[in-house]
Amino acid sequence: MKLSDAVELLTSTYQSLDAVALGLPVDAKEVADALAKADPDSAEYVALQALAKVNPYENTKKEKVKQNDDTNQE
């Protein structure tokens, strides 16, 4: 589902945001990026927060780099 469609649905619903967000399959990274850019005093921000809660984004790239890091002196 497109993130813009999910946000539009969440900003217009009268249901529980958490319950509605559970049924909206969106990309977690896209949500995290949009949340970082959103105005905190906007309905979009509230909607993105609900989406981020059920689609947590973890940046695994850094961890992989650490695992392959052979400069460990131990």
């Binding site: 009268y14 945001l17 905190p40 005093d41 921000y45 509230v46």
Partner: protein, 164 residues
């Protein structure tokens, strides 16, 4: 929901209602947006109530017992928001009280209400959508006339916001 990040030590609270006989209440997300709620919390929308009643969530739970066990278990179940019974001096010329009376007669009008708490600088808004379920006027001649009405908030439709 954004939680208020302010503690107001000593504050005054006011109740505001959305104007119009046929209002479109704020969506759930907008109830947590200060810019949306503060636009409704203006003096023209003030309800002249005597006090702000308790608001929040009622308790609802189921009791489970296991034979032989000393203690039982209370499991929270679906709870309704607290209904708010409000008393105001009855002024038949007050537009907002007339809106409450109209809502009570209609029974199906959803309206956004705002409880705004302020210490003079910081403002915390609790916004919710609700229906007015009861309205009565007490015309006792030994005191000023009072009206009493009850707001039943809609489930899940609430939000907190603050100005900083």
């Amino acid at each position: 929901m954004a939680l208020p990040n302010k503690v107001l030590p000593g504050f005054s609270a006011s109740l505001y209602c959305q104007a119009s006989a046929t209002p479109t209440p704020l969506s759930t997300a907008n109830l947590s947006v200060y810019a949306s709620t503060s636009a409704l919390a203006v003096s023209a929308n003030l309800l002249p109530v005597e006090a702000i009643p308790a608001f929040g969530q009622d308790d609802a739970m189921a009791n489970f017992n296991v034979a032989g066990s000393r203690q039982s278990d209370k499991i929270p179940t679906q709870a309704a928001p607290t209904s708010m019974t409000i008393t105001a001096a009855w002024n038949p010329a007050d537009a907002n009280l007339l809106l409450m009376r109209g809502d009570a007669y209609n029974g199906t009008i959803d309206r956004t209400f705002i409880i705004s708490a302020t210490d003079g600088t910081n403002i915390v808004n609790y916004a919710f959508n609700g229906r007015v379920g009861q309205f009565s006027v007490d015309p006792n001649p030994t005191a000023e006339a009072k009206c009493t009405f009850t707001i039943h908030p809609r489930g899940n439709q609430y939000g907190w916001s603050n100005n900083t």
